[in-house]
Amino acid sequence: MIDKSITGRFLFITVSLILIFIGLGVRLAFLHIGDHQEVLRRMKRKYYRERKIIARRGSIYDRNGHQNVLALTLSAKHVKADPKVISDKGLVREVAETLSHELDLPIDRLMVGLNSQKRYFSVKRFVPDTELDGLYKAKLTGIYFDDAVIRYYPQHELMCHVLGFVNNNGVGSAGVEQQANRFLRGCAGVVGSRINARRKEIYWEGGRYIAPINGADVTLTLDQNVQFIVERALDKVMEKHTPLGAWAIVEKVNTGEILAMASRPGYDLNKFRKSTENSRLNRAIGVVYEPGSTFKVVAFSAALNEGIVSERTVIDCENGSWFYMGRILRDSHGHDKLTVADGLKKSSNILTAKVALMLGRKRYYRYLKLFGMGNRMGIDLPGEEGGILHDEKRWSGISLSRIAIGQGVAVTALQMISAYCVVANGGYLVRPYVVSKIVSSDGEELYRRVPDPIRRVISERTALRMRKLLLRVTEEGGTGTRARVEGYKVAGKTGTAQKAIRGGYSNKDFVSSFVGFLPAEKPEIAIIVVVDTPHNGHYGGTVAGPAFSEIAEQTVRYMNIPPVSEVGL
């Protein structure tokens, strides 16, 4: 009996073992004979882990380089939860309260999200590391963190329209962030390694490592202090005159470097999702307006350059009301006869229209094109408008007389300041720019901008004569006395343009502006201030003039630009 039972057991075990081995053999045979490549691939995938290394997006500096960082990349976390784990342990309320407190989130949303049997719930995305200390300490069950990066702008609202912002996918979506995205974004790296059954890395098996290439750093031509001066001046204008908008540019006349470019209303770059489309608009390059009297500089420059008139040429100003081609053209103050020099000083529309008529529509149109009207200036920022200048063939009988005084033509502030830079720098139209250089993360200079004179527009002599004429505007009796700067000579022009409405021009809505440069004897910087629909006054001299003066006064001191001489031009 005993023998039999032993034999039975022996047989059972033997058969079992044989069956097991046959099974394993069959499996092995199938693995080798069948589509083993797929199995191999699956196995490799299972025991191979690849991790993306996020590249740091390049920083943006102002013209002083590393001293003033305008945009940088900070590490952040996506906070996520496993609601099943939390609800199974009955910790929903406790976790929700802590999350609500630490991340400033509504508790009801968290309660709903966490009280479920799902395995994933996104609590909050892109939380800066600095805000997570409390959450790390709390060591909450079922809460996990994913690595991420965020773009941070330490100056918040300053330079918002120039810098632009980066969207959730890390792509620059406005301003320099968009324009130089190719350089700034960098290239993500990869680290791949074999892992064992416990998901631990097997170091000696080797792996794949592709280092990330961090983004290049961009240096701007803008100066954060000049920008601050400009933005503060605009804020004052917004407060005092409650306009629809106000914008200003400060440019170096010889090189085209933009020192400041501001627009109001603005927005906080770190909260760009909460901003409106209106506040995101860079009005300095993206809004066209009828410039009014500031545009007269084109007609006068052209006429002087062509020798049609001289400063002393006397023109009849019709006592402030001139009937021409069936329409009346008026001056704000009536004058009998004025010299060309006084006509510009007093901003006579009639005199300017007559000068333009003497020049002729073909020649005037040619000068308009030479000054860059109707075309984009080609600044290295997205969203630039080219203005509106109809082809000369489409002009009506009165177009010439109206365009000369800045009606029936639309420009951007950038085009206008560029036209004044022509006068200031001796006759050259220079392309404005904001990006000075781009340096890769390993220090290699990838891009360096050099001043780009587009063409000569007027002769040096004409430019000098125009400077003398524009200087008179801020002298006693001129329209721009409030734009003066103590100790410096300012050349410029006021502009008060009625806003175009359906069927004509508004009598209560204006665009007030002042464009000028200083020191008038040897110009260094040009400044334009434009105010859209101001209240409590509407003249360019009284609304934009003081803002110009404030910006100019502080900028020349800050930039240590000396007053040139006392002897004049």
């Binding site: 003033n68 960082v69 940088l72 990349t73 900070l74 590490s75 800066p128 590391d129 600095t130 941070y152 330490p154 100056q155 918040h156 300053l158 968009q178 324009q179 130089a180 995205n181 190719r182 350089f183 890395e201 170091y203 000696w204 954060q224 202090n225 601050f228 010889n254 090189t255 290295d380 997205p382 720098n425 001796g426 050259y428 220079v430 990006v435 891009y447 901008r449 050099v450 001043p451 780009d452 004179p453 000569r456 103590e486 100790g487 410096y488 040897k522 260094e524 006064e553 502080q554 001191r557 630009i561 000396p562 007053p563 040139v564």
Partner: protein, 132 residues
């Protein structure tokens, strides 16, 4: 019986078994295994160390970036203005009369005409495409 014993001894002596080479092989295998284990262990240790250092580096880098950001924020013109206001410090630019210039002004104006002729630079500039 005595004869038989002798024969047995002889038989043993004549077998192919060599203790010394066998021991050598065992020793070599043991050494290789030990070296392999040691290397594996060292590698594991180094890997862990590198990982820890990388983590530390990342933490420090993050902290550095955060500090830099905080510093930039603190010294922004807006915050400096706020700080001055907090301590009732009023700062004004000196008037033109208060500025004493010891040197004649340096000629700052770069001739724009010289740039106009510099076609090489302009060509290089035209070749640089900024946007995607």
């Amino acid at each position: 019986m005595i004869r038989k014993r002798k024969n047995r001894r002889k038989k043993k002596l004549n077998s192919n078994f060599r203790p010394a080479p066998f021991a050598a092989v065992v020793v070599v295998i043991t050494i290789i295994a030990s070296v392999y284990s040691y290397l594996q262990y060292s590698c594991q240790q180094l890997g862990n160390e590198i990982k820890a250092l990388e983590r530390q580096k990342n933490i420090l880098k993050t902290r550095y970036m955060n500090e830099e950001c905080r510093w930039m924020e603190d010294k922004s013109p807006e915050n400096i203005k706020k700080a001055l206001n907090r301590y009732n410090i009023v700062m004004q630019w000196p008037s033109a009369r208060q500025v004493v210039r010891l040197r004649t002004p340096v000629v700052r104006n770069q001739s724009i005409a010289s740039l106009d002729s510099d076609t090489t630079r302009r060509r290089r500039l035209a070749g640089a495409v900024m946007n995607d």
